[in-house]
């Protein structure tokens, strides 16, 4: 399933890009912009990804099965409101792109629910093209 995304930011060497799903952009960005606290967390997560750092508390694979190993999640305030932005990782034009695809503003259980698994399985199928914003 082909979808479109816009670039938010790229790494200094241009090899990694953080993008946002065109269709869900408004909802995702509204969530990030809702408070300084959310913005700060988002900046940390983006910079960690672009610099190639590891931090499973903030960004990690949503490893529910072998068909979804391209799906990851940006994690906002685990143990509190526990928001997630589900992402898809994909190679495109010699770039590694991470697309913020779908917001899940409050994850209530530690294990993934049926609904969450269904979202993850659905977005694992997405393939993206970058469009100019």
């Amino acid at each position: 399933m082909n979808r479109f995304c816009e670039i938010l930011s790229t790494s200094e060497d241009g090899k990694i890009a953080i993008c946002v799903d065109k269709q869900n952009k408004e909802e995702i960005l509204a969530y990030v912009r809702q408070s300084e606290r959310h913005l700060k967390k988002f900046r940390f997560i983006v910079q960690l990804i672009l610099e190639g750092h590891r931090n499973a508390e903030l960004y990690d694979k949503e490893d529910i099965n072998g068909r979804c190993d391209n799906v990851t999640a940006m994690k906002f305030f685990k143990g509190q409101e526990n928001g997630r932005i589900y992402c898809v990782e994909q190679r495109l034009d010699r770039k590694y792109i991470i697309i913020a695809v779908q917001l899940h503003s409050r994850k209530k259980t530690q294990k993934n629910t049926k609904r969450e698994k269904s979202i993850i399985e659905k977005i694992a199928q997405y393939e993206y093209e970058i469009i100019e914003s």
């Binding site: 938010l8 790229t10 790494s11 200094e12 990030v32 912009r33 967390k41 983006v46 590891r54 903030l58």
Partner: protein
């Protein structure tokens, strides 16, 4: 795509997401990023050594929730903690300082040349390739690894 914030390139349309309100906010962010960079190395090492966060907590004499707070940014690292990590991982943190006035290519090139290696490039029909020579080996580097070098005058002089 030319606004530069947080040491990466930001789409100007979304600059508000990455713009600090003032210098204090920027310094706070960078302080936390230093902590995250260190913790990233700790996490990678722990994964390699198959040390779980619970075990790491035990070894440094704290709770798992403290480790969680460190990794999610609620708590910051200090040098005593770094020393404990070094001991547990049987490793040493190496510190490098990169001048912000240096481009990424400048930094890579300095690092490479500082090790006594030489670097030159060649344009072929298949594109531009970078050949490196160190004391023991000749090897080539994919063009995209050093894509930015193509326009870097400094590198051409070295080459």
């Amino acid at each position: 795509m030319n606004t530069k914030l947080l040491n990466h390139n930001v789409n100007p349309e979304y600059a508000d997401l990455f713009t600090f309100k003032n210098e204090n906010e920027e310094i706070e962010h960078e302080a936390q990023m230093i902590s995250f960079r260190v913790l990233s190395e700790v996490e990678k090492a722990c994964e390699g050594l198959k040390i779980k966060k619970k075990d790491l907590a035990e070894k440094i004499g704290s709770s798992k929730s403290y480790i969680t707070q460190l990794f999610n940014g609620s708590k910051s690292i200090n040098t005593t903690l770094l020393a404990k990590f070094e001991k547990i991982l049987d490793a040493t943190f190496e510190i490098k300082l990169r001048l912000n006035s240096d481009s990424y290519c400048d930094f890579l090139t300095k690092e490479f040349l500082a090790k006594g290696n030489s670097l030159f490039n060649m344009q072929t029909e298949g594109g531009r390739w970078y050949y490196c020579k160190d004391r023991n080996n000749d090897y080539s580097i994919e063009a995209d690894t050093f894509a930015k070098l193509q326009t870097d005058k400094k590198i051409k002089q070295i080459a």
